[in-house]
């Protein structure tokens, strides 16, 4: 049988005989014993351009074998397609590749004309084959080669592939391990071969459109063309139909050029194109974030799992590989990021974009009633809390409220305790198709608390830092539209770990925008070097959703659970009685029964503290009650109204700079109950001291805090601000300019905080008690006039009513302070009451272990104000701590049993009745049927009358009227003295109907002396002439002394009041001796007080001056000399 020395079949030959050309058919017929599975690259093409030829052959072979396979041809085809795809996605890889061109003329000539013979020879070879093989490889149409240089390779030049005039693209024979060259699940230039039909449809479309646009491609690149034809059969119906209607697809793709410059990349003169930004298709990824909030981002970021995720969701152009993990951290800015495993430039979010690397642990648990604590329940003995380690970016997409919700049955966010005090944060981020990505980060305890926190976001390692912090917020609700938004936030930090660590709070509003700096005022009230902790008071004039707490080592967020159901339809009426000593507020809902303003246990949203109001002893936690206000204010708590009229601030507060209520100045509710820090200062006596800027600011602050509390009360109890009424009272004796200042303060504050529709009523405090009696005690102004006397700390106001209408009014500074205060240049060291009782009370407190209270009283005494000390004495009766411990210190009771001082109280009362009788007489007003008392100091009257019917007082009153009116019989005056005289004024304010601010000028009378009546409205006597009345005033006082000491004869003071004769005699002698001087001093003081206002009319009787100037000294003498 004949044998032919060849590998293919054909006709038999004998010897050397002509045969058929060894063409493609024949070559194909050569049977390869190894198939095409050679493990090696084919290298037998005897041309420098062998790679171009081999790739061409590979396309031919694969077209014949089929698109899928693992032959060397499939590899070369796959690699060439990879190179094409890298060109196509050049933008995506712009940081990893550069495109280099080689010009057939210029660059080849560089070689051929080189002085280097080796280069010359290389050039000659390259030229030879370009020319000789031009038809085979379309070198005749070759202008340039374009290469992809992998710039992250080991060498400066690492060419991974280039353009080919035969197959569009070809590769080098080198094996590259490229970093981050991946499209879908296809890692480029790897050992898994990817046919065209399985590739990104955009790439397929591009190549097919390129085919249409390269003239003669089907013949010039027959092998490639055949491969395209083959590929087509494998494409999806959808893609096929797209390919049928490519239209201007090629034209619409951006031109591929070198470095964005003018040098385009072409093959056979036709521009290559590049992918349109992939962003638009990536937007369809299942991993696109699914925000709750309106999100306007053109390219919403993806959220990629950093742990095994096998939900089979579509990533970019293929499903997410369940074993793939996105990085925990990406240092690039969001818009500069490239997608992991894919390389497209598109924003995506990592766990580190949402979770902080360091979590802030609080020394004590976070109060979950007020703050979202992510369900953290410590299971260890040591109870701790955490600030949420969430970054603000989270809230760009998700609302604060939803953080507490669940997703797919699991909590969106949780903090879980781990052993060893570690904690795990789990955050679940919603993505498309109702899926979510779970992010977890474990925070470990620091090795050493004093070290800077060590963390590593790249490996998802978090750490804990513990801070001694607390944050208080008031109010604890969101302000409704139209209401001035203003929060007071107090930040406490008592860390001693890191020096000079600066803390900062940032407030984020509902749009997740940081509240601008202009809406936040910050002031420091407490200083670590003084009190071991810092307190920063911040005034935030904007609603906010959450707070970011930040310091140099950590950040975290605090989400307040603000009360939402605020406001309502109830009408709230408030009446504010701003007193010299105490201030009281009464309110009524829908015209109901007045009651003292209280913050009850159930009213949880006036104020909140990050760390619960508990019996923590740490000073940095306790201060919140002082710097803002207590969580409860009511009669059964430690704090209540009436509240001492006082403010508290740091000693070094500079009042020439802005001061902020509840920032660096506040009402000290603990005053008279607890002591204050060394650097803290309490200011009392606000009412009559508003003459300096500092005092004006202080007074304003005091009012401001009250208004804020009132506002909270309304909004938290279903009130309607629009239908709110505020009645504020003023003393009739207040100077006009002071009054107008006060009026402006109130109006500004009320308008600011409650709105301009609030009904504001200004009433003279002397008038209001009557309405209380009128409305609630059934006293009508009958035929006989009714006299209402309001005895406060500083003034006594007298109002006379006839048939519900006030017909006369008068006021004088003869009240509580006249007895206890240090009038006319006296001081606490020579205060009889203080001297007698201070050490006794202190001792009793000490004996009963009331050391805090004791210290508080001691501190008050340090203020050198007898008024304040006496006021403190009186407050002990209502002190919760004493009552809880059954310690009875009732200063009023002590005075009742102290007969030594009784004559003082007798003088105090009798002189008033004497003066009022003269006043009525001067005005031709008949003797009244009722005299009612109100005001704090009214309770002093019980010292001289403990009986229920006030018989003693009644008798003294009748005697005074009889004496003045010179009548003997038929007088009956009913005395009304309630047990809560301070509250009467406010309650009465509420009881007034309509706006009854009567112009007191019309009815105000000042009986300068018994014979000199300052008549209202006309011919006013000014203080310029006050000295003209000295003598007649003295005469009037003398007449009173005559009456007073004469009365003893018919109404024994010893019998009725236990006042010994010696004591009475001493008093009589003392008064006679001191009266003139006291009167003069009184007048002078008044003149000093009005200073430049000497045009001011005389608005106060001179009658009491001798007593004001003597009662204090008298008490001191009684105590000093033990006169009895």
């Amino acid at each position: 049988m004949a044998y032919n020395f060849r590998f293919h079949n054909g006709k038999d030959v004998e010897g050397w005989e002509n045969s058929n050309p060894l063409n493609e058919v024949a070559i194909k017929a050569i049977e390869d014993p190894n198939g095409a599975h050679s493990s090696r690259e084919i290298t037998s093409i005897p041309s420098p351009y062998a790679r171009i030829d081999l790739v061409k052959t590979a396309f031919k072979e694969v077209s014949s074998i089929g698109p899928d396979g693992d032959t060397i041809y499939h590899k070369m085809v796959s690699d060439a397609l990879d190179v094409g795809q890298i060109f196509f996605e050049a933008d995506k890889y712009s940081d990893k590749i550069e495109i280099i061109s080689w010009d057939r003329k210029a660059d080849l000539n560089n070689l051929i004309n080189s002085s280097n013979p080796k280069h010359k020879m290389l050039g000659e070879s390259l030229r030879l084959y370009l020319e000789q093989d031009q038809l085979t490889y379309n070198f005749d149409a070759l202008n340039k080669f374009y290469f992809i240089n992998y710039t992250e390779g080991d060498n400066p030049i690492d060419i991974i592939g280039g353009t080919s005039p035969s197959t569009l693209f070809f590769t080098s024979a080198n094996k590259y391990e490229l970093k981050d060259f991946q499209i879908g699940n296809d890692i480029l230039l790897d050992d898994k071969y990817m046919p065209l039909y399985k590739r990104d449809p955009d790439y397929v479309k591009y190549l097919f459109s390129l085919r249409e646009n390269i003239p003669g491609l089907s013949s010039k690149m027959k092998e490639l063309n055949d491969y395209f034809d083959l590929t087509y059969g494998y494409l999806s119906t959808d893609l096929k139909s797209q390919l049928k209607n490519l239209g201007d697809h090629y034209k619409n793709l951006p031109v591929l050029n070198i470095d964005g410059g003018g040098e385009i990349v072409e093959v056979l003169g036709i521009n290559l194109k590049k992918a349109k930004g992939k962003q638009d298709s990536i937007k369809d990824s299942d991993f696109v974030i699914r925000p709750d909030r309106e999100n306007e981002e053109v390219y919403p970021p993806l959220v990629l799992p950093n742990e095994i995720f096998n939900a089979g969701l579509n990533y970019v152009s293929a499903p997410w590989d369940s074993n793939a993990k996105a990085p925990h951290f990406d240092p690039q800015k969001l818009d500069q990021r490239t997608l992991p495993l894919d390389g497209n430039k598109y924003p995506y979010l990592t766990i580190s974009d949402f979770l902080e690397p360091v979590i802030i642990r609080t020394e004590f648990p976070v109060d979950k009633n007020y703050f979202f604590n992510a369900g953290y329940e410590s299971y260890e003995d040591e109870q701790k809390g955490f600030v949420l380690p969430i970054k603000p970016l989270y809230f760009k997409y998700f609302s604060v409220d939803n953080l507490e919700q669940t997703i797919n049955g699991e909590k969106r966010f949780e903090l879980k305790p781990l052993s060893g005090g570690y904690v795990e944060a789990i955050l679940r981020i919603p993505i498309q198709k109702d899926n979510h990505i779970t992010f977890r980060r474990t925070y470990t305890n620091p090795v050493n608390q004093a070290n800077k926190p060590e963390y590593n976001e790249e490996i998802n390692k978090g750490t804990i830092v513990e801070n001694r912090i607390n944050i208080g917020i008031t109010p604890f609700y969101k302000f409704p539209e139209g209401i001035h938004q203003e929060y007071n936030v107090a930040l406490y930090e008592g860390d001693f770990i890191f020096e000079n660590n600066r803390y900062e709070l940032n407030y984020f509003d509902a749009e997740n925008k940081i509240v601008p700096i202009g809406n936040v005022h910050k002031v420091q009230r407490r200083f670590k070097e003084e009190e071991t902790y810092n307190m920063f008071g911040e005034i935030v004039k904007s609603n906010f959703d959450y707070i970011q707490l930040k310091h140099e080592f950590a950040s975290g967020i605090i989400i307040p659970k603000f009360y939402k159901r605020i406001g309502g339809t109830s009408n709230f009426d408030f009446s504010i009685d701003f007193g010299t000593t105490n201030t009281h507020i009464e309110y009524a809902i829908d015209k109901g029964i007045p009651q003292p303003l209280q913050i009850g246990k159930n009213e949880k949203h006036h104020i909140a503290s990050l760390i619960a109001f508990k019996d923590f002893k740490e000073s940095y936690l306790l201060a919140l009650r002082n710097d803002l206000f207590p969580e409860e204010i009511h009669s059964k708590s430690s704090y209540q109204f009436p509240q001492r009229t006082a403010v508290n601030f740091h000693k070094k507060t500079n009042f020439s700079q802005p001061v902020f209520t509840l920032g660096n100045i506040s009402i000290p509710f603990k005053y008279e109950k607890e002591s204050f820090a060394l650097y803290s200062k309490v200011r009392t006596n606000l009412k009559w001291n508003s003459n300096t800027d500092e005092n004006k600011k202080i007074l304003f602050s005091f009012f401001e805090e009250l208004i804020k509390i009132i506002r909270n009360k309304i909004l938290l109890n279903g009130g309607d601000l629009e239908n709110t009424q505020i009645t504020w009272s003023y003393p009739a004796s207040m100077l006009k300019h002071q009054l107008s200042q006060m009026e402006s303060d109130w109006r500004n504050l009320i308008h600011t905080y409650l709105g301009k529709n609030v009904n504001i009523r200004k009433v003279c405090e002397s008038l209001t008690p009557y309405y209380y009696y009128y409305k609630f005690q059934g006293i009508a102004a009958m035929e006989k006039p009714l006299v209402s006397i309001d005895i406060g700390g500083g003034t006594s106001d007298v109002a006379v009513y006839k048939k519900v209408v006030p017909i006369l009014f008068s006021s004088y500074k003869f009240a509580g302070d006249a007895i206890f205060g240090d009038n006319f240049n006296r001081n606490i060291n020579i205060n009889g009451f203080v001297n007698k009782y201070y050490s006794k009370i202190i001792q009793k407190l000490r004996e009963n272990g009331q050391l805090i209270l004791m210290e508080a009283i001691e501190k008050i005494k340090d203020s050198d104000s007898s008024h304040d000390v006496i006021s403190a004495f009186f407050s002990l009766n209502d002190n919760k701590s004493l009552n809880d411990n059954s310690v009875d210190i009732d200063f009023l009771e002590l005075l009742k049993t102290d007969e030594k001082f009784k004559v003082i109280f007798l003088l105090f009362y009798t002189s008033q009745m004497y003066h009022i009788a003269h006043l009525l007489k001067a005005k031709n007003i008949p003797i009244p049927g009722v005299i009612s008392f109100s005001g704090t100091a009214s309770k002093l009257l019980t010292i001289i009358d403990t009986s229920k019917n006030h018989d003693n007082l009644k008798h003294l009153t009748i005697e005074a009227f009889k004496y003045v009116f010179k009548v003997d019989e038929g007088i009956d005056i009913d005395i009304r003295l309630p047990s809560n005289p301070k509250e009467i004024s406010s309650k009465g304010g509420l009881s007034m109907a309509g706006n009854q601010d009567i112009d007191l000028d019309h009815i105000k009378e000042t009986l300068i002396s018994n014979s000199n009546l300052q008549v209202g409205a006309k011919n006013k006597i000014s203080y310029k002439k006050v000295k003209d009345f000295e003598d007649s005033a003295m005469e009037s006082f003398d007449d009173f002394l005559k009456f007073f000491f004469g009365l003893n004869k018919s109404y024994s003071y010893r019998v009725n009041f236990g006042i010994e004769k010696a004591s009475l005699d001493f008093t009589e002698a003392f008064l006679y001796k001191k009266k003139r001087n006291a009167l003069k001093t009184g007048i002078q003081n008044k003149l000093n007080e009005i200073s430049n206002e000497s045009d001011e009319e005389i608005n106060e009787t001179l009658f009491f001056y001798p007593l004001v100037g003597t009662l204090g000294e008298l008490a001191y003498e009684f105590e000093k000399n033990k006169v009895n």
Partner: protein, 467 residues
């Protein structure tokens, strides 16, 4: 006077040239008056190449002592083999470097460096050229190109005359040959105007044999040569040839055989010395076919066939033409050589020796010694071909037999009468004596010696085998 320039590229080229030398020595017909063998191989140590050079030198030396004219009937060494240079080879410089050093890759500009980096793999760039191109002819296409600027190539061009022919021998699956052939071809076809006779070269009749795989190599993972890739490489190269080569040659001879035998795997050097193979002989026949071809007008593709497939070919298995081309020359020379090797020394007293003046001294002279050496090579060649796979064993190479029984497939005429009753060498001696009587005594001893043996063996062919 036409010359045939025969370029033998690489190891295969050398081995085919060796076969060609032997064929020419035996007197196989060659219409060219002169053959100019030119070996091209950068592998200076290649044993195949060196042996061929040796043989060519022996041939040349032997031939130089002989005179051929119209009356010369002797066909042994008839065809002149003349060297282009004394070494029969074109020198390729710097072949001890790495490829990247050879092209001075390092100092290339960025763009050209990029091109080279894409066209040549890292492995190419770092390949040591001392060992050929180890199956990477793409490198060869650059490295070998240096011969175009060599003095030898210029000399070739200068000596080329109209009517001369060029034949190029190469293997398609190796390194040097595969690369050198197209390169040489393209350089000739686009001969630089700076070369003499460049237009003659551009249009010169060119024949070429491309030897496809005919042997394997043993598996060696360390080696760049892997048998399993031979066919795929061949196919790839054939595709290249289809477009890049075939159209440029007048006659393209393709030849290959089943991969029966695995040779030891050497990438080159002194170790690369493979047993001779029938395919090489067939390729040598292609050279002669081209030399003898009268029609050079078209691009012919020629293939080689035989009558019967056998693992041990004899003359009868060959095609008729091949058989007739080879049978007589080889057989004549077979007798010639056998006689010289086994008998001559003892027959110096015989009639023919005396007449030819062949004495002890002749046997010691350079001519005879070289002839003897060449014969030894030729004998080895025959031996190797006979034992190779596939084998070509036309003769029984057992000296014990009657020599006339040693041509396989031929039955010698035997007689009990006259001269033909003599057997074996006696028969030859008798014939030599007979022939010597008629010898022209004016010729040189060497000429007469050759003439006598040629005429004698020729007569024996007729007498014994009716050929």
């Amino acid at each position: 006077m036409s010359k045939l320039y025969v370029f033998g590229i690489g190891g295969t080229g050398a081995r085919v040239l060796k076969s060609l030398s032997f064929l020419l020595a035996t007197g196989v017909k060659c219409n060219s008056t002169s053959v100019v063998p030119i070996l091209i191989d950068p592998d200076a140590a290649n044993s195949d190449v060196n042996q061929t050079v040796d043989i060519l030198k022996l041939y040349e030396s032997i031939r130089s002592k002989l005179t051929f004219n119209r009356e010369t009937s002797n066909q042994f060494f008839k065809t002149d083999i003349s060297p282009l240079n004394p070494d029969f080879r074109i020198n390729i410089q710097d072949s001890k470097k790495k490829f990247k050093e050879f092209i001075d890759y390092q100092s290339l500009d960025k763009k050209n460096k990029s091109l080279v980096s894409l066209l040549f793999s890292e492995k190419n760039l770092n390949a040591d050229l001392e060992e050929g191109f180890t199956g990477n002819p793409n490198m060869g296409s650059v490295v070998l190109n240096q011969f175009t600027t060599s003095k030898d190539f210029e000399a070739f061009a200068s000596s080329f005359a109209q009517g001369d022919r060029i034949f190029i021998i190469s293997s398609i699956f190796g390194g040097t040959g595969a690369a050198g052939f197209p390169l040489l071809l393209k350089n000739i076809r686009s001969a630089s105007p700076t070369l003499n006779n460049h237009s003659h070269l551009q249009t010169a009749p060119i024949g070429a044999v491309s030897v496809l795989p005919y042997f394997g190599v043993k598996k060696d993972n360390e080696s760049n040569i892997e048998k399993s890739t031979f066919i795929s490489k061949t196919k790839a190269a054939l595709r290249y040839y289809e477009h890049g080569v075939n159209g440029s040659v007048n006659s393209m001879y393709y030849l290959g055989d089943k991969l029966v035998k695995d040779y030891d795997n050497y990438e080159g050097g002194v170790e690369q010395k493979n047993d001779s193979h029938f395919v090489e002989l067939a390729a040598a026949l292609a050279v002669l076919d081209f030399a003898n071809e009268t029609d050079l007008s078209t691009n012919k593709i020629k293939e080689f066939g035989i009558k019967n497939e056998s693992q041990n070919l004899t003359f009868n298995d060959l095609g008729d033409v091949t058989k007739s081309d080879l049978l007589k020359p080889l057989s004549r020379y077979y007798f010639f050589r056998s006689y010289l090797e086994n008998v001559l020394k003892e027959k110096l007293n015989s009639d023919f020796a005396k007449r030819l003046d062949i004495k002890e001294q002749f046997l010691n002279e350079d001519f005879y010694q070289k002839l003897k050496k060449l014969n030894k090579h030729l004998w080895d060649w025959l031996n190797q071909m006979s034992t190779n796979q596939r084998g070509f064993a036309p003769f029984t190479l057992n000296p014990e037999n009657d020599l006339f029984d040693n041509i396989k497939g031929l039955n010698p005429h035997k007689s009990t009468f006259g001269i033909n009753r003599l057997k074996n060498y006696e028969r030859i001696t008798a014939e030599l004596n007979k022939t010597a009587k008629k010898m022209n005594t004016s010729k040189s001893t060497e000429d007469r010696f050759m003439q006598v043996f040629f005429d004698t063996t020729e007569k024996l062919m007729v007498a014994k085998y009716k050929l």
